[in-house]
């Protein structure tokens, strides 16, 4: 994995100034600090690259929660990454109804193009490929998200074009 993440350093972790400012705003939204856990985990993930044990311990400390509670939440939800992730996260919807509309064809095309299977990251750390459960775009199938942005009505040519346009 060539992508360096702050999550892996031996230095004690701390939010960057920008993340710290957002963390303080998050705290103000809820009547207790526990409720700030989900948004704080997102902040840590963005700021440190992924949720290493160290990153989860840091969030626990900042919210005065037992680390076990943070681990429980981080592992319950699929959008928290517990291991290093590609720069571009490609998620292909294969749920009913996308499965009837070529969703698996998109997965096969991407597997061939990237040389990885579902759930894997390319050796250069650029791409992670996953299947997503319903992305609420069923009328525009087949579709995928890359880093949260929708790409709909996919064809093999369109997929190649989209991937070629990424850094």
């Amino acid at each position: 994995m060539s992508t360096e993440t702050r999550s892996e350093t031996s230095e004690p972790l701390a939010f960057s100034p920008g993340a710290e400012e957002r963390f303080q705003r998050v705290l103000g939204k809820y009547p207790n600090t526990r409720a700030a856990l989900l948004p704080s985990l997102y902040l840590a993930q963005e700021d440190f690259g992924y949720l290493s044990v160290q990153a989860m311990e840091y969030v626990a400390e900042r919210l005065a929660l037992p680390p076990s509670k943070v681990l429980q939440v981080a592992t319950f939800y699929t959008m928290y990454y517990k291991k290093p992730h590609g720069t571009h996260h490609i998620e292909v919807c294969t749920s009913v109804p996308c499965c009837m509309m070529g969703g698996y064809g998109v997965v096969r095309h991407l597997e061939g193009k990237l040389g990885i299977g579902v759930g894997e990251t390319t050796p250069d750390g650029r791409f992670t490929l996953t299947e997503a459960e319903c992305l609420a775009g069923c009328g525009h199938a087949p579709l995928m998200q890359i880093n949260g942005r929708y790409h709909e009505h996919l064809t093999p040519e369109r997929i190649d074009e989209i991937l070629d346009g990424l850094d």
Binding site: Q72, E91, V96, C138
Partner: protein
């Protein structure tokens, strides 16, 4: 038909406060401030508005469960965790017309005496969350949010809270757990959220589309809204078409529209892809039992679809053509619910996976005839035996696929292979 819910969807800048206000936006809120809370709740009851998240519970009645007096704050939670396969409507409201939802929140806040609204949006909907945050910022700048709004005495704030990839959080008590910073595992009811909801306080949980209907109900009156739908199912609504249909998409239709017309009429679906034959229709999202082609002359509302042996759900209509393998579709459905089971109740945690594995075996040509009755038995043992309806959401559609297309399952077993082409 006059467009209400989709009026601003295809307008450049339709998501902005300036545009929303230029088309009469926030006038309903102003009008509501001149009404008593009781009068507003009465209008909502009169409108026959029913929960658009899938359950179809009358909104005004739900509001009536919230205690008038409370020593602790009361909250509104918007369920924007849209994730039922076949459902794609709330996302567009938030991306293209967020102020319709926010005005509904403000009117609800005035009617119900609410301290704050939390909009719980699916983690995957990054753009929707950004659009909402921007719209909320516009409201603060316009003095329509915060302390003593427009000198009305109402203080209210609206917060966006992103989920993190768990379908179960669309269940209202799991959503509340998640909003409190916990794993999304449903709670036993009672107590219902209206009594003990988020942060231990009385809470109303309503779907995005439901609350987006409220400004129109106040503007035009509950009676007018009720007239736009069918008996006991008020208003225009957002129906969605997906699967093997010519014109998939999200359409604003009167509640009670005929399902066959919706699929075949040129104004909507325009018929089956490739002019093939219809094999079946899932009328309200993947948890609803499939209807066969001779069962779809039915009005799309909660009562008529219930009578037809299915459910109205989210009005997410999924069209299945003759070339689709029902066994594979059933397996994919079971895998979805297995993946999304929170693991709390044994019948759901184990049953969803067991059903998915048996269906995989049948699809792979390794099924046994006795598996078919075993599948029905497992479905019976899951349904009704769990804290929340996620297990039911697997059992009901799988049972319907098996009972209505049993020949196709038997053919897979007899021939030891799937007769349909790969997806």
């Amino acid at each position: 038909m006059e467009k209400i819910l989709t009026r601003n969807w295809n307008v450049e800048g339709g998501h902005t406060l300036a545009h929303y206000r230029s088309s009469g936006g926030y006038e309903a809120f102003r009008k509501a401030l001149g009404l008593t809370p009781e009068a507003i709740i009465d209008e909502v009851k009169l409108s026959n508005l029913r929960g658009r998240g899938g359950a179809g519970f009358p909104t005004g009645v739900k509001w009536g469960f919230l205690p008038r007096e409370s020593d602790v704050p009361k909250y509104l939670v918007i369920n924007a965790d849209e994730g039922e396969p076949g459902t794609f409507k709330d996302r567009y409201i938030m991306e293209r017309d967020p102020h319709r939802l926010l005005e509904g929140c403000l009117i609800s806040a005035w009617a119900l005496g609410l301290k704050a609204t939390y909009i719980y949006i699916r983690g995957e909907m990054v753009f929707g969350a950004e659009q909402l945050e921007a719209a909320i910022e516009e409201l603060h700048e316009a003095g329509l949010l915060g302390e003593d709004i427009q000198g009305s005495g109402l203080s209210h704030d609206i917060h966006v809270h992103r989920g993190a990839g768990a379908y179960i959080c669309g269940e209202e008590t799991a959503l509340i757990e998640s909003l409190e910073g916990k794993a999304g595992q449903p709670r036993l009811k009672p107590p219902f959220p209206a009594v003990v909801g988020v942060f231990g306080c009385p809470t109303i949980v309503n779907n995005v589309e439901t609350i987006a209907c409220v400004p129109t109900i106040i503007e035009r009156g509950g009676e007018w809204f009720a007239e736009q739908g069918s008996e006991r199912n008020g208003g225009p609504k957002l129906a969605q078409l997906s699967g093997r249909v010519k014109n998939p998409g999200t359409y604003e239709v009167p509640s009670g529209l005929n399902l066959r017309e919706f699929i075949f009429d040129e104004a909507w679906g325009g018929g089956i892809l490739g002019d093939g034959a219809l094999k079946g229709v899932i009328p309200g999202g993947s948890s609803c039992p499939v209807l066969t082609p001779d069962e779809i002359d039915v009005g799309m509302d909660f009562d008529q679809l219930m009578k037809a042996g299915s459910m109205g759900g989210t009005s997410g209509v999924i069209v299945i053509s003759e070339d689709v393998c029902i066994v594979r579709l059933a397996a994919r459905t079971a895998h979805f619910y297995h993946h999304e089971s929170c693991g709390q109740c044994t019948p759901c945690r184990e049953g969803t996976g067991w059903v998915a594995r048996i269906l995989d075996e049948i699809e792979a040509g390794r099924g046994r005839m006795e598996d078919l009755d075993l599948l029905l038995e497992i479905c019976d043992n899951v349904e009704g035996n769990t804290i929340c309806p996620l297990g039911d959401a697997m059992a009901m559609p799988v049972r319907a696929f098996l009972m209505k297309y049993r020949d196709e399952f038997e053919q897979h077993i007899r021939e030891g292979a799937c007769p349909f082409p790969e997806w």
